[in-house]
Symmetry: C2
DNA sequence: AAAATTAATAACCAAAAGGTTATATATTTA
DNA sequence: TAAATATATAACCTTTTGGTTATTAATTTT
């Protein structure tokens, strides 16, 4: 199965969601396991609706799932989408790295040359 | 050396830069090597200033470098920052995946249980 | 020297992002 | 049942983003 990275709208949402420190912090916190929103919000000096919006962004990107138990909403991380985004980076970074190192090697090899 | 992922403003810029399909397309194209801006812009149905702005975003994120030869600007990808962002994902995805699979395994194990 | 090409910059616009306060809804606790 | 708690939604505001056209600057080609 070849991954189709081109024109993938999911990647817009996933990378967009990851581009904010508050949301990355929430995801980091979720590496300890499922939490309710109040606990997730605790570290941030912002209003409750702001937290709610950040969670919607993460949800829309498919990075989290929500389940309700009474009045509490429990949030957990879903690994798939982030892995997909990580895959995009890993795929292309290999090529960039290759060229980068090639140029380095070339410069190194021709270091003592006269003009 | 332990990487400090917390409160890393670079990640804002890097993930933000990666959240747009045009910019991802440019980076993908740069996996073939250095190109001038005209060639880089060719696939996109947008004005030249728009291209210029996308390149500034990539540059600000540290994802590309520019060198001038005459009137041409040549662009190449710099692998480091993207690798850093990939590292962030890889680091946390491991935890998310672990929990995700643990829950799966639990549900599987208790499949036939009566209430 | 004039025309063409490559790219940046300025000024503008609409939509999206990230925040706020006020209010509503559901559930739990006292 | 009344109060407290957990969360969402609505309405609003400011800044950022992604695009445009018009213009400018530098270089190359004719």
């Amino acid at each position: 199965m070849v991954i189709n990275f081109e024109n993938n709208e999911n990647l817009d949402l996933i990378f967009g969601a990851l581009s904010d420190a508050t949301r990355r912090g929430m995801l980091a916190q979720l590496s300890d396991g499922e939490t309710n929103i109040t606990a997730l919000a605790a570290p941030y000096a912002m209003s409750q609706p702001a937290i709610s919006k950040h969670l919607r962004v993460l949800e829309r990107a498919g990075l989290i799932a929500r389940s309700r138990r009474g009045r509490d909403h429990y949030i957990k991380a879903i690994p798939g989408p982030a892995e997909e985004a990580g895959g995009w980076i890993a795929y292309y970074a290999k090529f960039w790295r290759q060229q980068f190192d090639d140029v380095e090697a070339y410069l190194q090899a021709n270091k003592g040359d006269t003009k």
